[in-house]
Amino acid sequence: MSEALSQPVNFFQAKKGLFSWIFSTDHKRIGLLYFYAIISFFLVAMALGFLMRLELIAPGETIMDAKTYNQVFTLHGVIMIFLFLIPSVPAFFGNFFLPIMIGTDDVAFPKVNLMSWWLYVLGGIFALLTLVVGDGPADTGWTFYAPYSVKTGTNVTLAVLAAFILGFSSILTGLNFIVTIHRLRAPGMGWFKMPLFSWALYATAWIQLLATPIIGITLLMIVAERVFGVGLFDPALGGDPILYQHLFWIYSHPAVYIMVLPAMGLISEMIPTFAKRTIFGYKAIAYSSLAIAFIGYFVWGHHMFTSGMSGPARVIFSILTFLVAVPSAIKVFNWVATLYKGSIDVKTPLLYSMAFIFQFLIGGLTGLVIGALATDIHLHDTYFVVGHFHYVMFGGAGFAFFGALHYWFPKIWGKMYNERVSKIAFTLMFIGFNFLYFPMLILGIMGMPRRYYDYLEDFTTLNVISTVGSWVLIAGILLMIINLIRSNKTGEVATRNPWGGTTLEWQTPSPPPVHNFDATPVVPEGSPYDHKMNKTG
């Protein structure tokens, strides 16, 4: 498709003024509203993480006392999970690109979409309010485990209400995506013509819709327990603390897939574009998204192996946990097979994708170590779990998010980013990340418990390495952000399809016009990733 002579008005130019943004029902503007909010919260939580690592640079009290440390890691977790990771890919990239990728002009319920963003903002305000009112932010950890969360004097009620409101935002986004995918696909856009990112969002949306209400009710039960003393979780009143853990993880384990599944969808978009090759095993990747979402519902008990759950239940949850590794591995094998004999173009998004595969593999395999009953007894509540979790969530989902930010940067903002600086930033992030989190895996095996502001002298060296790693990682992240902001101002103007991508978003101008396309999009005849047919590159 040749470049249109007269560019249509793009969605940035269509209307001006603050109100035209915060009350917009355009999915692209709402996506960007999410992005600016999400990245701000990310920076706040990153700063908290920086402070935690600084505290742990030496044994004993370094820059904060035990209670402050507990509050800092709780706030770091709550913000990173509920305000960054869960909305990051679906609410930003999903909102912006899902309608374009399936060839429609908006999501099914644009006003509900706007309401989701407002609920997100409200939830964010509640989370931040815990900082300034009462006895300070919650010190329970992001899991709000009872009975401590029922008894502590810190702002648990407010923090829990924040998560409750954010849950509603997530449910409405999921609902919107499910209906959009079922009802608004362009003529000719069959289920197996959809880009794999749409499949990943579809699987994720079902988790958002079906699992999130459970955490909503559970968090309200905490409030009921705190305010009215109803005795659901307090053994003294006939309650059961393990019931809380069941209810919490029935949502929160699938929530891990809310974070990583759409990120996997991003990888499935980036790899074929930069390998210039049809994706290997399209259907296997599409079905594995659904399989991960489905099996992911049945594994929550693996968070509770050492907390008093029955023996037979532990065995069943352990077996099911091993099952979920199968569809995850299917994806990894297919991505690697896609690269085989491809014409690989090593651009920054591909580097992030490679880092994703490497780090997700470490995260996934360490997950099996703690999914096995015997090894989990040794490793539960140690730094091994912290390392594993960050390898999956940041090394996986976070790196995919930043990779996609580069991949779609030209499409969203209409400018090219500086490739050289972005590669330097990536290198810093990759090195910093692995120096920060790999020592945690070793520290965990050595027996260092998580959630303490102090540790034994023996653990000092690895903790110092980890803290220095955090500085390198943060330097990389800041360089990446500065590079993107500068490129947005001074970068080259982007064409429609700078990478030679094959999916529909590359048929429209950069940035897209208000109604997404200036001409009816042509749905490719065969695979959505058929580079032989691609004449737009």
């Binding site: 079922h182 459970i214 029935i250 519902y297 029955s310 239940a313």
Partner: protein, 107 residues
């Protein structure tokens, strides 16, 4: 009753309307009332079909839910896919309860 051929909602197809007489809906409503009365009788008077009043009440409630979903919420006239999705949702709900209960029973 809807014709099988017209009950499939495919993207781009015009909406298919189902014209169902009021009498039919009122009949369903009366049926639901009768089931509600049965639930009350089981709990208040100790009348139980299978000796377990909770199980009886749950069976009646499930039957009511199926009727409401099928007729009032038009599941019966929807694409089969929607019924399947509903079924998977119910399956997940049962799994949540069953797995948690399994832990308690075997603890």
């Amino acid at each position: 009753m809807a014709n099988k051929n017209t009950s499939r909602h495919l993207p781009g197809d015009p909406e298919v309307h189902h014209i169902i007489p009021y009498k039919f809906h009122i009949g369903i409503w009366v049926g639901l009332i009768i089931l509600t009365v049965m639930t009350v009788l089981v709990s208040v008077m100790g009348i139980s079909l299978v000796a377990f009043s909770v199980i009886t009440a749950l069976i009646i409630a499930s039957a009511k839910a199926v009727v409401v979903a099928n007729y009032f919420m038009h599941l019966k006239y929807e694409n089969k896919l929607i019924t399947w999705l509903m079924g998977v949702t119910m399956l997940l709900f049962v799994v949540f309860i069953a797995f948690t209960a399994f832990d308690y029973i075997t603890r």
